[in-house]
């Protein structure tokens, strides 16, 4: 019962956040200098008048905003200014599956890689192995996606010539390897450091000492008692990690030429495609807020120490 209440509470909290997000995007676009119809050659007056009418640009501001919020709630982000034959919703829906594939694969890779490395480092605390793992972890954190991606291409596509340098090829696994790795590595490095720190803390705690005193085998201690509390902070990091992966996917898609959401966003940004850019930002916002909500809820179920009594 309390859990259900908690979920509803969080949902109620997410709604103002969403509204602020939408209003923010709306007013930012409205206050931007230069209209979407400012072409090199000016349009005939009647054409522009019709266009403005079609996009509700002559209504008072509050009416435009309420109309916009209303249409977003029904899943309609309006027509794209640049890709005249498509609505923003269609564009988002065509790009999202590609980004989703990329993002989900990257998160899983980051979790598995980072979790394993962090665990190994923690179990060999203060050894040479531990120090070198943590050193390379910091290197991984410090090399941004957009540097990592070209470097990977340079090594694996150009020098060794074993992996394709770009293109989607309908999601052929071979074409996804480099983008996923480039996207996952900084997060894997972060998760490794997080796991290591958390596990060392757990290993030093009293209940682990008790299990040791009872003479349980090391494997049992680690798998039955240590792993779960170790990964709690990692789970709560999944929210920020998703945000970082979404941001990273923008450049990674650009570098590898994947037809995902991030590419539409950058194209839209460079072409001043107002509706597309706003649509994608709001969609990203929805994703991040929604995912944070899921992580919070799951976290509450896993960690019995957290009581949802607010």
């Amino acid at each position: 019962m309390t859990n259900l209440k908690f979920i509803f509470g969080r949902l109620a909290g997410a709604i103002p956040t969403l509204l602020v997000l939408i209003c923010f995007a709306f007013f930012l676009v409205k206050s931007a200098p230069g209209g979407p119809f400012d072409f090199e050659r000016s349009l005939p007056e009647e054409v522009e008048k019709n266009l403005r009418e079609a996009y509700n640009l002559d209504d008072p501001l509050y009416l435009q905003l309420t109309k916009y919020v209303g249409s977003i709630l029904t899943g309609d982000f309006g027509p794209s200014f640049q890709y005249r034959d498509y609505t923003v919703t269609e564009l988002i829906m065509s790009g999202f599956p590609v980004s989703l594939r990329l993002g989900v694969a990257a998160i899983f890779l980051a979790l598995i890689l980072g979790g394993t490395i962090g665990t190994i480092a923690a179990l060999n605390q203060n050894s040479r192995l531990d120090y070198s793992v943590m050193f390379f972890g910091m290197v991984g954190i410090s090399i941004p996606n957009f540097v990592m991606a070209p470097l990977l291409v340079l090594i694996f596509s150009i020098a060794l010539n074993i992996l394709p340098a770009g293109g989607y090829a309908n999601g052929a696994p071979l074409h996804m390897i480099l983008p996923v790795v480039a996207l996952a590595l900084p997060q894997a490095a972060y998760i490794a450091r997080l796991t290591r720190g958390s596990m060392i803390e757990v290993l030093n705690s009293n209940f682990v000492r008790t299990t040791r005193a009872q003479g349980l085998p090391l494997n049992t201690i680690i798998f039955k008692h240590v792993l779960k509390p170790t990964f709690l902070p990692v789970i709560s990091y999944l929210g920020p990690a998703t945000a970082a992966i979404i941001t990273g996917s923008v450049v990674v898609e650009q570098i590898f030429g994947l037809p995902g959401l991030g590419r539409y966003f950058v194209q839209g940004a460079l072409n001043r495609d107002y509706t597309l850019v706003m649509g994608v930002v709001i969609f990203y916002g929805l994703l991040i807020i929604g995912f944070n909500l899921i992580v919070d809820t799951v976290y509450g179920f896993i960690d019995p120490r957290i009581k949802h009594n607010r």
């Binding site: 909290g13 997410a14 103002p16 956040t17 602020v20 997000l21 923010f24 995007a25 930012l28 676009v29 206050s31 931007a32 200098p33 050193f135 910091m138 290197v139 954190i141 410090s142 090399i143 941004p144 957009f146 540097v147 991606a149 070209p150 470097l151 291409v153 340079l154 150009i158 945000a243 979404i246 941001t247 923008v250 450049v251 650009q254 570098i255 966003f265 950058v266 940004a269 460079l270 001043r272 850019v277 994608v280 930002v281 990203y284 916002g285 991040i288 807020i289 944070n292």
Partner: protein, 289 residues
């Protein structure tokens, strides 16, 4: 127990034991000197094109120690100029965010009550925003000026600092010297900025060291996408972008700026980590042996 130690000496003794942080600090100092002085020593100009030496690999003979780019410009000088911009953005935008974050957090924590809960609720709401995208929107709609980069990045990066500062303020405001100031009739504004904020400096220093690399990263991210610093100015992100487009034929155009960017971020992260271990009150147990 060593209650007489000042913040600075605490930090100093902890940092001097941290070899990684020490090494990073020295590397970073070298980097700053190189970025500032390098272009003065080099015989080449940042925007001087040379059509007879397009995309020449690095060589000692003609003074192009990093080679040249596809327009025959000296890559060493360009990397140094890019570094100036990247570091400047990092520092200025961090100052903007510290200014906002410290004021916001200190006021929220000190005033307390309804004001505090409303102010922190706003921070919660803002936390869930995809901020980088807002910076991009700002850049798209209001032109890509360097001034806007400072303000935009600084204006979205203050949330962490505000939260931490608020927490610290809550503990500080119960101390006797604050009561004394109140009893002495000092105005709230003056108490916050003369009595509380100076006591927050330790934690602020840590977050400055951790924010600078984040900001540099955001700037290079924007410049990489072509939404940040514009020609003829350049930054490490813009140079990496340029290098990535021709890495097949001339990889050094990518490698040198990428190396400088990565090493800088690396050093800042290590120093930030070291400072956090030394100064963060949450980890006090670690250093007072």
């Amino acid at each position: 127990m060593n209650p007489t130690n000042s913040l600075a000496s605490d930090a100093w003794s902890a940092l001097s034991k941290n070899r990684a942080a020490w090494f990073s600090a020295m590397a970073l100092t070298t980097m700053v000197l190189l970025v500032l002085l390098g272009p003065l020593v080099s015989p080449h100009e940042v925007d001087q094109t040379n059509w007879s030496k397009l995309a020449k690999p690095p060589s000692m003979d003609d003074g192009h120690i990093f080679g040249t780019d596809d327009l025959g410009r000296d890559l060493f000088v360009r990397t140094m100029y890019g570094g100036r911009i990247s570091l400047m953005v990092g520092i200025v935008a961090t100052l903007v965010s510290v200014l906002i974050g410290v004021s916001y957090g200190a006021i929220s924590g000190f005033v307390g009550g309804k004001v505090d809960s409303i102010m922190m609720r706003i921070v919660d709401v803002l936390y869930a925003m995809p901020f980088l995208f807002f910076v991009i929107l700002l850049m798209v709609f209001f032109g890509r000026s360097i001034f806007l980069i400072f303000v935009a990045i600084g204006a979205v990066n203050w949330l962490d600092i505000a939260r931490i500062v608020r927490g610290q303020t809550l503990t500080i405001k119960g101390k006797e010297f604050v009561d004394a100031a109140k009893a002495g009739g000092v105005s709230t504004f003056r108490i916050i900025f003369r009595h509380i904020v100076p006591n927050l400096m330790g934690i602020v220093v840590v977050y400055v060291a951790l924010t600078v690399p984040q900001v540099i990263l955001v700037e290079s991210f924007l410049s990489f996408l072509g939404l940040g610093v514009q020609e003829p100015m350049t930054s490490w992100g813009a140079l990496v972008n340029q290098g990535a487009r021709q890495m097949e034929s001339s990889p050094w155009i990518l490698l040198f700026p990428a190396l400088f960017l990565a090493v800088t971020l690396f050093c800042f992260n290590f120093i930030g980590d070291g400072l956090r271990d030394a100064l963060d009150p949450k980890d006090r147990t670690n250093i007072n042996e």
